[in-house]
């Protein structure tokens, strides 16, 4: 393809555009586009940038609430946390690049999400992630896991933002398509938020940060296509991150914002200079003119197409107050970063690009954004999976053997090998780091704490997308509540297969509906998010993974609780369960998969109203100082949760098992809306439960011996459980 030549449908098809989309471009331009123009259309209309398959459904999500300062549509969502402060946060995927080049793919995923947050004027204070890898025995898993973890750490550790939490699953459906989602949370003054809409025709457009190279060209388009055996040949389209430059850029931007010089700002993420210039101009209802010869480049003879589609990292585009230009330049010179006026805001509502004194592109902005295709893709409602009874799944094995196998299963095993590679303490405000329920980060110089959690259970979503979508929200809600913090809002990352397939589209519709349902009931609106589709390799889709990243606030971080057992002689309660329950939901559980060898089956049903009731009770009990440790019951059920509390704590637990019904169902069932609470004031706690109409039952007490004792069975020592817990990932990575 030569730059000046008129393009044909063949060229458009190579860039991932359909024939209908090609026809639409011709109609809107009333002529044939050149290479640069076609590249801009294909990037802006890619699934990654346009959300064309998901937009119809995303619009149904609740996005408003009195706590919301900025909902979806900006670089990140903004939520009021009181005292004039705001939490700014978002999650984003970097799946395809991370499979091709795990270190750089994951590192630039972290860099990108950090830019989204500090672009809004917020100083990042926490990083989290949600990762999915293939089967633990698959030949590529070890290589991908070590590369991704090193990449996440490589960026976050260097830039000096603590990685405080995350989640990981392993499943064969990710063998050829891993998921790497990174979340960042920042802190800003609620009256000092910066937005991307360009203002004031004639104002200078400034390019800052690193130089533009030929890396990552057309990455957004790659992220919008299925994988095949040849995908690894796309290695050159993976960007290379430089956390050092990222750190300088972050400090320079925050300093510039404090100097009140910035009118609007947008990071150059997916589709680089294309999406940043188009979004800034179109959101402002204006136009933009850029001289590409002024763009700082690090390679010679870059074409207009290459400059516009490069995804080189650590770059920003901004419009500044003209009178502050010299202040701005001085700040960037202090930080040794490029600072280059490359164009101006216009009132033409067109994007005009000059290159070598010629017009390389002159297109109206409206079609790029407003006329971007939006599809109502057909979907085939899923057939509901059968309910599997406990009798169908229960195996005749001793409880301790089952516990050993579950604690050492890939999905439940300790993540210590992973999170010890992340600096979780830098900034010195981490109160609860990785390894528990929610992470808790102190808001610097205050008594407040921000609780954060990322969650999704793909096997539930796979079996029943609606229930699974609800469950991702509710599990995050439980994790936040178990720390004592009040859930505020969520960001989501929808990872699915090819939406042109009706069963995949049905997963998207079901999961989004489920998320919306839960978010409405729990009053946790969706304020930002990301969609990653086409997660397929050679036609095989991933287990759907709509990740929720939730934040919550606690007024006094000293009141927050962890999950480790602290003192002996305290009552252990299960909240959300009554004495009549001596069975449990084993269908679609980790037990069913690991012990009974059966995947699928209907997942446990999720009732957000009950979740709200039980979660409120836990938070109230923590606020009233009635409980000294709390843990949500999720994967692996009650006994796994208890084991985790012993492993994380300084004492043990003695538990009475029910004398009838299914012991395994009781121990390993994954019924929702439940917590384990270690109660220090039983009368007040039971009174609170009664007043709140919440079911709770005492199942045992804490003991000074560091062991888990089930009445009538030999005690299981903490050392044994910790060793089982550590074994699988340590052995794999040794």
């Amino acid at each position: 393809m030569s730059e000046a030549n008129e393009m044909s449908f063949n060229d458009a098809e190579q860039m991932g555009l359909s024939f209908e989309e090609w026809q639409l471009i011709l109609k809107r331009l009333e002529r044939t586009p050149n290479l640069c123009e076609l590249g801009i259309f294909s990037a802006m209309w890619s699934e990654h940038c346009s959300y064309k398959s998901s937009k119809k459904w995303l619009k149904t999500l609740p996005t408003e609430g009195e706590q919301v300062i900025q909902g979806p549509g900006e670089n990140a969502g903004v939520v009021d946390i009181g005292d004039g402060l705001a939490a700014v946060f978002k999650i984003e995927s970097h799946n395809h690049p991370s499979f091709i080049e795990p270190y750089q793919g994951a590192a630039t995923g972290v860099g990108g999400i950090l830019r989204d947050v500090f672009t809004m004027g917020a100083r990042p204070i926490a990083l989290l992630n949600a990762l999915r890898f293939g089967d633990i025995s698959h030949e590529k898993t070890k290589h991908l896991l070590s590369g991704v973890v090193a990449g996440i750490g490589g960026y976050g550790n260097c830039i000096g933002i603590p990685t405080v939490g995350g989640e990981v699953n392993f499943h064969s459906s990710y063998n050829g398509n891993i998921l790497v989602n990174a979340m960042a949370v920042g802190l800003a003054h609620s009256d000092r938020i910066f937005y991307s809409a360009a203002t004031g025709a004639g104002n200078p457009v400034i390019y800052v940060g690193a130089k533009t190279g030929r890396d990552g060209i057309h990455g957004a388009t790659m992220a919008s296509a299925e994988f095949s055996d040849e995908t690894e040949s796309k290695r050159p389209t993976v960007q290379v991150g430089d956390p050092f430059t990222g750190k300088l850029l972050m400090e320079a931007c925050l300093e510039l914002m404090a100097a009140d010089a910035v009118l609007s700002i947008q990071d150059m993420g997916a589709a680089g200079l294309t999406s940043s210039s188009v979004e800034m101009a179109s959101k402002g209802g204006l136009g933009m003119e850029i001289d590409l010869d002024l763009v700082p480049v690090r390679e010679v003879a870059m074409s207009a197409y290459e400059i516009m589609l490069s995804e080189s990292q650590e770059r920003m585009l901004m419009v500044i107050k003209p009178e502050q230009a010299e202040t701005a330049r001085a700040i960037f010179e202090k930080w040794d970063l490029d600072f280059m006026p490359i164009g101006k805001v216009t009132d033409t509502e067109r994007l005009v690009l000059l290159k070598d004194n010629e017009i390389a592109c002159d297109i109206p902005l409206a079609p790029l954004v407003d006329d971007a295709p939006e599809y109502d893709r057909p979907y085939r409602p899923e057939e509901l999976q059968p309910v599997l009874s406990t009798a169908q799944l229960e195996k005749d094995l001793p409880l301790a053997d089952v516990l050993q196998r579950l604690l050492s299963s890939a999905d439940l095993s300790s993540r210590r090998w992973i999170y010890e590679q992340y600096d979780s303490d830098v900034m010195a405000d981490t109160i609860t780091g990785p390894g528990g329920d929610a992470a808790l980060v102190r808001i610097h110089n205050t008594d407040k704490g921000l609780a954060v959690s990322t969650d999704c259970t793909p096997r539930y979503v796979d079996a029943d997308a609606f229930e699974g979508g609800k469950q991702a929200v509710c599990e995050a809600y439980r994790n936040i509540s178990a720390s004592g913090a009040k859930p505020l809002a969520v960001t989501n990352n929808l990872n699915f297969g090819n939406p042109e397939k009706q069963d995949i589209m049905a997963q998207i519709v079901g999961a989004v509906n489920g998320m919306g349902n839960a978010c409405r009931t729990l009053n946790t609106p969706v304020v930002s998010g990301n969609v990653s589709l086409y997660n397929e390799t050679d036609g095989m889709a991933i287990q759907p993974c709509p990740v929720i990243g939730m934040i919550g606030i606690i007024d006094d971080w000293k009141q927050a609780k962890g999950c480790g057992l602290i003192n002996a002689g305290k009552a252990i309660f299960v909240v959300g369960q009554n004495g009549d329950v001596n069975d449990g939901w084993l269908g679609c559980s980790v037990y069913a998969r690991e012990i009974a060898g059966r995947e699928g089956g209907a997942p446990p049903s999720v009732d957000p109203i009950l979740e709200e009731k039980n979660g409120s009770l836990i938070r109230q009990a923590i606020a009233n100082e009635l409980i000294e440790a709390a843990h949500d019951i999720s994967d692996g059920g009650l006994l796994v949760a208890l084991a985790e509390m012993v492993i994380a704590g300084q004492c043990g637990a003695k538990i009475t098992c029910p004398d009838s019904g299914s012991l395994h169902g009781w121990a390993f069932g994954e019924d929702q809306a439940r917590y384990i609470a270690v109660v220090s004031d039983v009368p007040a706690f039971t009174a609170l439960c009664a007043a709140s109409d919440v079911e709770a039952i005492q199942i045992g007490e804490t003991i000074s011996e560091c062991e888990l004792t089930l009445a009538g069975l030999p005690p299981i020592s903490k050392e044994d459980m910790a060793a089982w817990h550590r074994k699988t990932i340590d052995d794999l990575m040794a």
Partner: protein, 229 residues
């Protein structure tokens, strides 16, 4: 008590150290930008952790040649006290104010965890004056290149001269207690005059008040009170 904290591009523990010092002394440290070649008189210069200059070339190598470090070398040559933590330790080795080197962790991975340290019997130094020999400190490490390396002759002379300040221990210095494979479990060393100290663990992250340990506060209190005497 006057202190200064150096800031290089890529430093990322400067604020944490500033907060820690201010909490102990009640006085905010002076912040010195790497391009400044002037250093006002202070009782101690602290070089904080981070990734100065992105760890490019070698950890600490570029920072060691910054104008501010010339002033620090000058300050040290007049007997001034200097504490380097993590990347600050690496920088002090690159300047030659401390002997030996720090290489990649034995496990070839970044490691962030709490470690146990034993205060060693040392030559006369203001840093450890209030900490008894053998007392144990729990303080976190977070680094990629904290594996202290030197030839046996140098290690012997450091030990004999009382220049080993801190070792990783699990009651005793053991392999399991050593997070990075450092020679003889060394976590921190002193200069021959006892006025310059480098250490890998981050005391500013063990200040109590929400941190799992407050031994870093104990340590920094000893350092800051020691140099002010």
């Amino acid at each position: 008590m006057r202190s200064a904290i150096l800031i290089f591009p890529g430093s990322n523990c400067d604020r944490d150290m500033m907060v820690a010092v201010e909490r102990i002394t009640g006085r905010r440290p002076a912040l010195v930008w790497h391009k400044d070649s002037q250093l006002d008189p202070v009782d101690i210069v602290i070089i904080p952790g981070g990734f100065s200059f992105g760890d490019y070339l070698r950890c600490g190598a570029l920072a060691a040649r910054a104008p501010a470090m010339e002033a620090v070398i000058d300050h040290a040559s007049r007997g001034g006290a200097v504490l380097g933590v993590c990347n600050g330790f690496q920088i002090l080795l690159e300047t030659g104010l401390l002997p030996g080197t720090l290489v990649r962790n034995g496990g070839l991975k970044f490691v962030c965890r709490e470690v146990r340290l034993a205060v060693q019997e040392t030559l006369e130094t203001p840093f450890l004056a209030d900490l008894s020999n053998g007392s144990e400190l729990r303080i976190p490490v977070a680094h990629n290149e904290g594996n202290y390396f030197a030839d046996d002759a140098l290690l012997d002379s450091l030990e004999q001269g009382g220049q080993v300040a801190l070792r990783y221990v699990d009651n005793e210095p053991s392999r399991a207690a050593n997070p990075n494979g450092s020679a003889r479990n060394i976590a921190g060393i002193l200069s021959a005059n006892g006025r310059v100290m480098g250490m890998m663990p981050h005391p500013e992250r063990a200040m109590g008040n929400g941190h799992p340990s407050d031994d870093g506060r104990k340590f920094l209190t000893s350092v800051l009170e020691g140099v002010a005497r």
